[in-house]
Chain length 405, copies 2
Amino acid sequence: MAIKVDFIASGTVTSPQGFHAGATYAGIKERADDVLDLGILFSEAPCVAAALFTTNRIKAAPLVLCQQRLATGRAWALVANSGCANAFTGGEGLADAAEMADLAAKNIGVSPENVLVASTGVIGQPLPMELIRAGIGQIALTRDGGHELARAIMTTDTLAKEAAVVVTAGEGGFIIGGVAKGSGMIHPELATLLCFLTTDAAVDIDLLKLALRRAADVSFNMVSIDGDTSPNDMVLVMANGRAGNKVISADSQEANAFQQGLDQVCIYLAKAVAGDGEGASKLIEVTVSGAISVAEARLAARTVVSSPLVKAAVHGSDPNWGRIIAAVGRSGAEVVESKLDLYLGDICLVRGGKSLPFSKPSAVELLSRGEVPIGLQLNLGTAEATAWGCDLSEEYVTINSQYTT
Amino acid sequence: MAIKVDFIASGTVTSPQGFHAGATYAGIKERADDVLDLGILFSEAPCVAAALFTTNRIKAAPLVLCQQRLATGRAWALVANSGCANAFTGGEGLADAAEMADLAAKNIGVSPENVLVASTGVIGQPLPMELIRAGIGQIALTRDGGHELARAIMTTDTLAKEAAVVVTAGEGGFIIGGVAKGSGMIHPELATLLCFLTTDAAVDIDLLKLALRRAADVSFNMVSIDGDTSPNDMVLVMANGRAGNKVISADSQEANAFQQGLDQVCIYLAKAVAGDGEGASKLIEVTVSGAISVAEARLAARTVVSSPLVKAAVHGSDPNWGRIIAAVGRSGAEVVESKLDLYLGDICLVRGGKSLPFSKPSAVELLSRGEVPIGLQLNLGTAEATAWGCDLSEEYVTINSQYTT
């Protein structure tokens, strides 16, 4: 079957048919121009839904609620806020998350158990429920409201992250869209941020779960900003079937097309998260090939892209490539010094474990670009993986040393 | 047996009897005031010697040489340089390390196979052997030369790290001394820096190995600066028996005294390494108690002290304690939200999983000190561990974005 995946201009989480969203400024975040901090995503029809959650032992109240409600594999809507994580807030936090879902349910006319909740922001502070009660009625849902939802979940993000693709599979087709927020506490441990994905394809719950895990493995699980993970990390996908296609299951001819589309949206959002890391000025892309296994390739790529010393060197456009070697050496992946090749873009710095003379100005020029590609060929096997991250800047420190003060 | 451990004023690696050291400026590092970059440590009598090495798969040439030579459990001298790591330098690097030992052996009149080698500095560059050949003859060994050796192994360290203790055990006694360098690429994976320890006690090789591992476990293995490990990490201990005591073995009454003394020297040096981390302005001490096992207490303490977000918050004296909770939650240690207590010095911020009101000015004042104590009581068991690290500053980034340029 011929498969085509095309990005939609200005695509977002409401690009798939039947999804509506909207947001408001409830006053949870401090006011700045154009700030939104409370949003709703709603599907005209009930959805098959699956999610990935943080591996942190401290789980925010909205995650606990979502885990319970997603046991059915179904959901109809989502309410999300930024500015307060509702994490480490005990029983009151759980009650607040449930009330937030109730308020949204009333607003959109569905029953509360079909409404999911997500929060992001400062940990350990109670949700300002008065503001949420007052704000939720202000939210107007529209078919174009995905753009507002994308902004409503931003914290230190400097750009809204949203995308959608049209997937054509033989005669049929469907749309997949999504929004995400990232910026800090970003590290590959299952899910690593807030991300809401939607599709108008009809998808079987088992395939939806499998496809989400696979897509996360090549996207969000390959992104690292600072090695921290948050109690609020969640990646959610909702499928409402409005495209009118036959339900796609693991055996369907369209399963592969659905996977490709979902992968593309997730990789796009993951790279947007990496490139917009706190204080980031550059996206770093590390590709490790020739590894003994995919697991080792992933480990090696993620370790290099996470290394504070590699990140700082890239920030200063300093071709201090020994740090890349040191990072891959400690990654846990099998590495043989005498077999290693190292590339910066198409400049070969090391071949067979021997450093080659290279033009320093060319290397500095390459490191000064907005996207810095690092390639490691281990020459031990055939497995390959790519990870994304960002440079470490003085600004990262400045942002994070003054977050609550 | 009564055991006393007392620090010696201006103690160093040559404080134990029979040890001599010296250093010179060979020109490997760029010149600044008072720079030394090549040093020798020498014992009048042959030593029983043991070492811990990096777990990085890329091992620097001097480490490979030391691993071979320490198979005998004996050594007589050490030559060390800073400014070039002689790491990722292949067969030439091994030949250079061996020649460096030969040159030192000739200088001090012992046979080359009794001489160990250590290097630290930029990875992937060949040792400038011409400079080393010319420099090594300039080194004059003295009983007070430990202070020079301490300076000769510094890279971005701002302070020399050295200490010595007198251990009194019953009627007898002996001295243990050491020097270390740290600053960057510091993370708990076996050894994590260069550290040379000496003692004039006579110690059995099996006890020496065991005591070194135990001492590292409560000191160097509990220090994190940036999560990176280097190909050059090595902790070495040499015992020459000049104190004239009976050989201490695992069964001796003095074994415990030796362990206490070694622990004290290692903890002192480890804290000095942590407090002098690249760009650091504060030492952070994280104590986790009430853990299910010592392994989990260690994991939790190290994860909190390594968290970039915790480190940045401490830098800004921002009492954003949710980040401490998030870090312990992702550590892998068993944590139950409703049982957790969190202290900043003696200020209790969280008790039984509930945040308490606290004086923000007091918390900010405490975070502004040179040593910031963080306490986590998990209330699940009886195990405890302490880890040390430093704040993350804009200066760390500046230093590391311009290291080779």
